[in-house]
Symmetry: D2
Subunit: 342 residues, 4 copies
């Protein structure tokens, strides 16, 4: 059994990790830490996890093989070195190990606590970086918006289907904003309401741009695409739907485009190129990403609609997928649950 | 492998059965039928079930060991005899095999198509009828409101904690009303709204009354409790919360009451007597029922709050629990998923 | 024009007062205060009030004829004396002037800051206290649950229809919990969820009990009814539905009961005895209360379903109704808006 | 008093018309018709309209000054001629009188029943066509998506701020889909879900394109902009948020852009150029449109976010605004309600 620690189990991604890992056949969760809730039992914080109850401890003491860091930016990077020293591999849910360019990180997040670790980190999107993840010690688990956005456009960029001026208009449920109280997540403010936010620049923009540049360059192009990214908050708990727009480069039929997408994702266990417009509820509670590319013939534009569950494929499910890769387990282990509908 | 057929997979309980059974390690779904959707692929109706895709066929032809009937009342009873003749056991999701008294059935549902089968049917609530279920051929799988209501009051009635004048005020998500279109399930009518309904008598009332009478009589009492049952529709998809009220019979402390409940449910794999007020989301997507009894000291009343996911413990999960019992499998097999939160 | 001040316009009831009063033909809002938001413009806090924009000031300095206190308990009572000294009448949205028995107040809220004012205060439910309100200087505007609960049972108690053992099972939208951040109002915790709360005693219980005792005694009875009150939080913003239960005292037909209710509310501008089960959305955004009494013949119980918009008839609309009464204006002035549907 | 008829009061736009007109000081609703509900009282269909109760009649018999047609496409055009013959002016809520080019109409809606009336019809968006509306007899009241989309981009096109390749990504509540039952509006399908639809072409696309071409040409440009329009359904009842994207034409500062918008809407009673990102709930229940233009400096793109209540400014409120214009009344009469928040 692989011994796993969860640092900060008391947020939504921490709790979701515990939900999945408690039923993972090759994992034993040996430690789950909290900050203000340390000293409590897990079920006092999350009654839903009653049958995975345990003490919430202040810090990991026992050795573990893999540690998940479900901490805010900066706190994650600070927590990593001592765990690495014990030989643990790190799967980090924050942004601290996602951006390979230190200057970009510091523009969005301020000073990096452990810049020396950045070059060793791998961006944990298996569909783009499976080999590196399998060999990695520090996995920067992707953000929720980036997962949906990158998976929707990477095939088109790599295949040269579109010009490199991109727009992603994303719609997210509220759980992506976490469990910390804020007016933007207050029920009466969000319910029956939709809001565009991050209009002056959202922290997930550089992460999406970094990976789409990689896809673009893998297709033999130089430079990097430009990207407008506008997230919206909608009145639901889970789910992200990303609608991506880009001008076609040359003449493409929708069949050619779909073929390129199907080829790109041919061996992926969790990505499906679907043939009807997907809804977030089609993947609710699962690790799937459904992707639907089409062409707007009036304007010669590619439109791609993609959906994920932001807490599963957009966070904790993808982290377990990375755990499986890092540990040499079958990639889908513990993630077989089909989506819940309705 | 147990060969299972699902009759009418295209409703919400049918789809939920498929979701669970597709991952059940000892089950092979050999047939899934539909009515107006027969001839389609399952994923055309439920894209969420893409990875359990199959043809929706008009009728079961191949032999199966167990057939789930996810049909409306009357249609279920009519579908049962030919399947029973092939040797299949029946787990019926409708009301056709729940009420042991034919006269009561006919008062609420009209003429019974197969009254001769009624005496052979078992009420499929494992917490009250486990032994009979294990030996049964026709299981009348309980309704969603009855599951929550009976589990909340049976221990108190059997232990003689309360007088036999009961009120159950229940709150349900909308999926309990099914996939058939009706104004009462139209989004704009339900959203931001709460409604009391069934005020002239709801069909689940006699089912609850029947089983609470059994619990009352198992406690050595004669007669049957009276029951006011008022369901309410609230703007969410899944979940039932039942709030039950009854006057205490004699002097009871909350500790004594909780002890009686814990004793009653001591060996139950899916019922938990919790120590803080439960929410429906604590059990979302799981087969659990959380029960919380307390005493209103101002009025010497017992109040019991219970919660279930209406499509799992209130329908398809409980049906799979019954499948496991009927087939001699571990009772929790295929139902280990922890609740999703948030 | 009547000069009106709003103390603490930055909560939900304060904002709702401003929304109504900004269109009231006989009112001029001369001051609107805030605490942490003082110094801002109103539209910075509530963009919806852009066309009623003004400075949020730290305290009322100019004389006003009527001051609304939209403050928490204790803060209200402390704010009242200086305003009373200027000759202003007070309409208080907190609980500070609702409970006539000081001992009861202190049991639920602790020491009262200005107990000497209590005997001068009037409970601001026009349907029970219209005359006193018209002559009053300090109006304790009712709570949201009490408004729905009292209006549902007062006619039955006064007419002797029921025995004095009452249950009110209430369901409320989340805006009743206010704009202050708390985990219980965090979107992801409330959405797709229903919760029973206040099970150890909710602060609105004594308020309901006080007024139902008055109705009981007006009917010539002695003593006071006992009351079990259980509120539930449901995933919507506005609206309260109260389901009340009580055993009939003697033999009553539903027609007799409805006649008693219609007589009781014959001249009320905002209460309607309806003939089909009401939903909260039937009164959304309006000052109406719809009341629906019926008899459960199986158990000889009266059931009454009532609905209000908790921020209008349950708070700010009722406060404006009281303003109209206190100032000798037509009772419905500024409150003519019909409900929004859907 | 102006005598008004509402044809088909039993849909959501019909009911919303009645809600507004019942409180309009210069209007008397003399007739309200229904189809399957003719013969009922209005409150049987909409209990919220209890205090505007009346008979639902099968057809308008009495003369009226203005008739609102709240009918589906085709039925509207068929209902218009006899009403016009009585001298009534027509405000039509369907698409039948919105598209000035018959060929475009027939491409999207099939054969037009009364093509001869098209040249006499005026597109009822006061911000672009106030003068024509005041002189008109047949007003084609705009669709909900078009209202939000046109108001967001017309100023930029007329001022030459952007190049004529436009994207509008719109998010709508479900009431826009009407009261007719369909799976896409079934609560359990929509709740906790977001869906892109109309991807092969939505009927509102040509309407938006027509009006944006007018704005473009008023700015002295030739030709017409191309437009990608993608609507999304989100789990709420009322509200549309449109996010529009277009490349800047030349160098513009955000201040210049905002000045152009403020100039364009300087005298508009219902449009506000706001300085923080708007949410749909900022205008809930009101006739306002809030517009927020900004520049994405990374990509030299204009982004415009606009919000309306789809049933008010997007339908019935705008229709009353047109009534006021057609009848020479103050444009805001009956529409003064401030938005409801929360």
């Amino acid at each position: 059994m692989i011994r796993v620690g969860i640092v900060n189990v008391t947020g939504y991604t921490g709790a979701e990790l515990m939900r999945i890992l408690a039923r993972h056949p090759e994992v034993k969760v040996t430690a789950a830490t909290g900050r203000s809730d340390a000293g409590k039992r897990l079920r006092q914080v999350f009654p839903s996890l009653r049958d995975a109850d345990r003490d919430i401890i202040p810090a990991i003491v026992e050795d573990c093989d893999v540690a998940f860091l479900a901490l805010p930016a900066h706190a994650s990077a600070e927590a990593a070195p001592p765990l690495l020293q014990t030989g643990a591999k790190i799967i980090d849910m924050s942004a601290d190990f996602r951006l390979s360019d230190l200057a970009v990180y510091e523009q969005w997040y301020g000073t990096h606590p452990t810049p020396g670790l950045l070059p060793k980190a791998v961006y944990g999107l298996p569909e783009l970086h499976r080999g590196e993840i399998m060999a990695g010690n520090i996995i920067g688990n992707p953000g929720c918006y980036p997962t949906a956005s990158i998976l929707s456009l990477a095939p088109a960029l790599q295949a040269g289907i579109v010009k490199p001026r991109l727009i992603v208009d994303a719609k997210s449920g509220v759980s992506g904003a976490g469990r910390t109280l804020k007016l933007e997540s207050h029920f009466s403010e969000v319910d029956e309401n939709v809001t565009a936010y991050g209009l002056d620049g959202h922290r997930h923009q550089p992460e999406i741009a970094q990976e789409l540049a990689i896809a673009w360059q893998r297709g033999g192009h130089s430079g990097a695409p430009s990207l407008t990214f506008v997230p919206h908050l909608i009145p639901m708990t889970r789910g992200i739907l990303a609608t991506a727009y880009a001008d076609l480069d040359g003449s493409w039929t929708v069949e050619q485009v779909r073929d390129a997408y199907k080829t790109f994702y041919a061996n992926e266990p969790f990505v499906r190129v679907v043939d009807t417009p997907p809804s977030t509820k089609h993947v609710w509670g699962s690790n799937y990403c459904f992707v639907y590319p089409l062409i707007d013939k009036r304007t010669d534009r590619l439109i791609v609609v993609s959906v994920i569950d932001n807490l599963v494929k957009g966070a904790s499910g993808q982290a377990v997928q990375n755990l499986n890769l890092v540990c040499g387990l079958p990639e889908t282990m513990g993630l077989e649950t089909l989506p819940f509908y309705p």
